[in-house]
Each structure stands twice: as C-alpha cells, then as structure tokens.
C-alpha cells in the first residue's frame, strides 16, 4: 500500500504543482472554472488514451516514439505558457486594480483560458498515463493485495491534489498587486523547465546534439530521484546533471518569456503621445 501510495502521489504531485500555478495565474479571469475543469478532464482522457496506445507509441519513430511525443507536448505547453505571459502583461495590471476595487472576477480572457486549460491537460496527460498503466497492471494481475494497492493509490491522488491546492491557496496569500508578478515568474520558470526537459529528451535519443551530457553534478546535494528533486524539476526545471542543450533551451525560453512580457506590457506609443 505504501509503495503504491508513493508512486501515485509522486506523479499526481508533479502534475498538481503545475495545476496549482495555473490556478493562481488565472485568478480574476471570469468563467475560468469550465475551462480549467475541461483541461483536467481532457488530461485524464488523454492519459487513458496514451496508456492504451503506449505499445504502438513506443515502437513508433524507431523506438523514440515516447520521447518524441513527450517532447512535442512539452513544446506545445511552452508555447501556451508564452501566450499566457503576453496576455498577462497586457491585462494583469488592470485586472489586479479591478479586483481590488470590486473583489470579483471581472476580466474575460477566453483565449488565455484555453491556453491554460491546454497546459493543465498536458501536465495531467504526461504524469497520468504512468498512473493509468500502473493501475492497469494491478487490475490485470488481480492478486490478493490489489485492494490495499488501490487504497494506497486513492490516498496518493488525494494527497497530491491536497498539496497542489495548498500551493494555490498559498499563492493567493500574496497581495493582489504582487500576485501576478510572482505568477509571471513562476510561469516563465515552468516554461523554461519544460523546454529544458524536451531538449534533454531529444538529445538523450541523439536526435539533437547534447553539447555536453553533464555540465555539472549536484546529485550529492539534491538528486532528481528524490521527492523534493522531482518536485523542483516539475516546478522550475531543476536537473542534478543538466546537458548543455538543456541549459541552453532553459535559458533561451526564460529570456524569451521575460522579454515577451516586457515588450507586451510596455505602454502603448499612442497613449504616450496623448498624455
């Protein structure tokens, strides 16, 4: 029961941390619940679909199918996060002001909600397919301890969800005028970490050059095999032994998102002339 709890908790936590940040970053956008729940359901459905096709996916592209698929959806999520950064740079300040005045969700942002729903779906799909396969294995083996393992898994889902809810509520404790600044950085780091992971996946299969397989080794300090290491990997792209290409993709994505936000958030030339 403990083993299954740990496996499921770890996967749910990794996805849940991303969901927690997305929840905090979309506070104040009206009618967000159906979009974000849609992302959750799409992610769960996608996880089941991927789990069902994993054999075919694995053997596709000369055995690199799993990695190519993972890298592709990670890149998609990075683009969606970039989209949100630009939208937020344009609307964040005005949103925070309106929320302080009225204390309610006032700004509509259907396009960015779609982008963020997609990010939730990708996060859940990636980690969820591993949980689905794990549970499928138990269901087909059907031995005596199946009940204990399922109970452990259910607890794992609940605990993982609780931590991500805690992260969301914790972020909401940040004063409104600062909240979107903090979530902006979290989103940028999240995107950078995802881009780095995608690059590492492709370089590991020798599809792109690695430019150094191990720039440094901090596994003695914090291993990506540990729970904290994994959580930091999901949140900010921590890697104990990064590849050159991974660091390059990380830095390039972070710089791009920061510059995009600055560019999109600059005062309009027209309004400058008017004032």
């Amino acid at each position: 029961m403990l083993a299954s709890f740990i496996i499921v908790f770890r996967e749910v936590l990794e996805a849940g941390l991303i969901v927690g940040i997305v929840l905090a970053a979309t506070v104040g956008i009206s009618r967000r619940a159906p979009y974000l729940w849609g992302g959750v359901f799409a992610g769960v459905a996608g996880a089941c679909l991927v789990a069902a096709c994993i054999g075919a996916l694995s053997s596709a592209f000369a055995g690199n199918g799993q990695d190519l698929f993972d890298a592709a959806i990670l890149c998609f999520a990075v683009v969606m996060l970039g989209w949100h950064s630009v939208w937020m740079a344009r609307h964040g300040r005005e949103m925070a002001r309106q929320m302080q005045d009225m204390g309610a969700s006032v700004t509509s942002g259907e396009t960015t909600l779609l982008a963020m729903a997609a990010v939730i779906a990708v996060a859940i799909l990636r980690e969820g397919s591993e949980v689905v396969l794990f549970l499928y294995g138990i269901a087909t083996a059907a031995h005596l301890t199946a009940f204990a393992i399922l109970a452990g898994s259910a607890l794992g889902v609940a605990a993982g969800a609780a931590v991500s809810w805690g992260l969301y509520r914790g972020l909401l404790a940040i004063p409104l005028r600062r909240l979107f600044g903090v979530t902006g950085w979290l989103i940028a780091l999240l995107a950078a970490g995802m881009a780095g992971q995608a690059a590492a996946l492709l370089a590991n299969d020798d599809i792109i050059p690695a430019f150094g397989y191990q720039l440094w080794d901090t596994s003695w300090l914090l291993s990506t095999g540990s729970l904290l290491g994994r959580a930091l990997q999901a949140l900010v792209g921590y890697s104990d032994r990064p590849m050159g290409i991974q660091l390059a993709a990380y830095a390039a994505t972070l710089a791009t998102l920061v510059c995009l936000s600055k560019w999109a958030g600059r005062p309009k030339i027209l309004s400058k002339q008017e004032s």
Partner: protein
C-alpha cells in the same frame, strides 16, 4: 528492418547537419524483466562513452524502466523491448529499477 534504417537515417542526418554525437554504433547491454525481476541484475557498462540499454518485458503487465542515476525513464509494455541511451559515465555503481515493482525489480549497472 525499417526501424533500424530509420534510426540510422536520423543518426546520419543529425551527424551531417549538426555535427552531433552520432557516430559508430554505441555498445549495448540487454536486460530482461520476468516475474518482476531483472536478468541480469548486475551489468557492466562502459566508462566515458554513450551506450544502449535494451529492456525486454516478459511479464503480462506494463513496467517502467527507470534510473535517475542513468537519467532514463521509459515504459515497457508486455512482450516489448525498448532501447534507452545513457552515458558517458564516470566509474561507479548506477542503480536502476522498475518503477511499478521497485521491491523486486531492481539492479545495478557497474561502470568500469
């Protein structure tokens, strides 16, 4: 096989376009999972170069071949063989396991 050909073409393209790390075929080791145990559970792998690990799952349920130390993580469905790349390594012991059955399915790769 078509898969092999495609892999070689990708490798050749990567080498030609990007002067990447693809070169001579890297050495490989074979692991088999049966009754949720690795055979062999102690393998010798090269130091300082890239190598392949082939993992075959002979059980009736899916496994996830995983090793943070080797930086690999891949699902292996029943009756399937997957390939992962690892290295270059410094001399030492590198643990690997099946994430779905970590109590029984674990082993070490010894780089020397």
């Amino acid at each position: 096989m078509a898969h092999d050909l495609r892999r070689k073409m990708i490798a050749a393209a990567a080498f030609a376009c990007l002067a990447g790390p693809a070169g001579a075929a890297p050495p490989s080791v074979q692991l088999t999972l049966q009754d949720h145990k690795f055979t062999p559970d102690h393998v010798q792998v090269p130091v300082g170069g890239r190598f392949k690990i082939l993992v075959t799952n002979l059980d009736s349920t899916p496994d996830e071949f995983e090793s943070p130390a080797l930086r690999v993580e891949k699902i292996v469905v029943p009756e399937q063989t997957i390939t992962v790349f690892a290295g270059p390594l410094t001399p030492g012991m590198y643990a690997f396991y099946d994430d779905y059955h970590p109590e029984t399915a674990h082993g070490v790769a010894e780089a020397k």
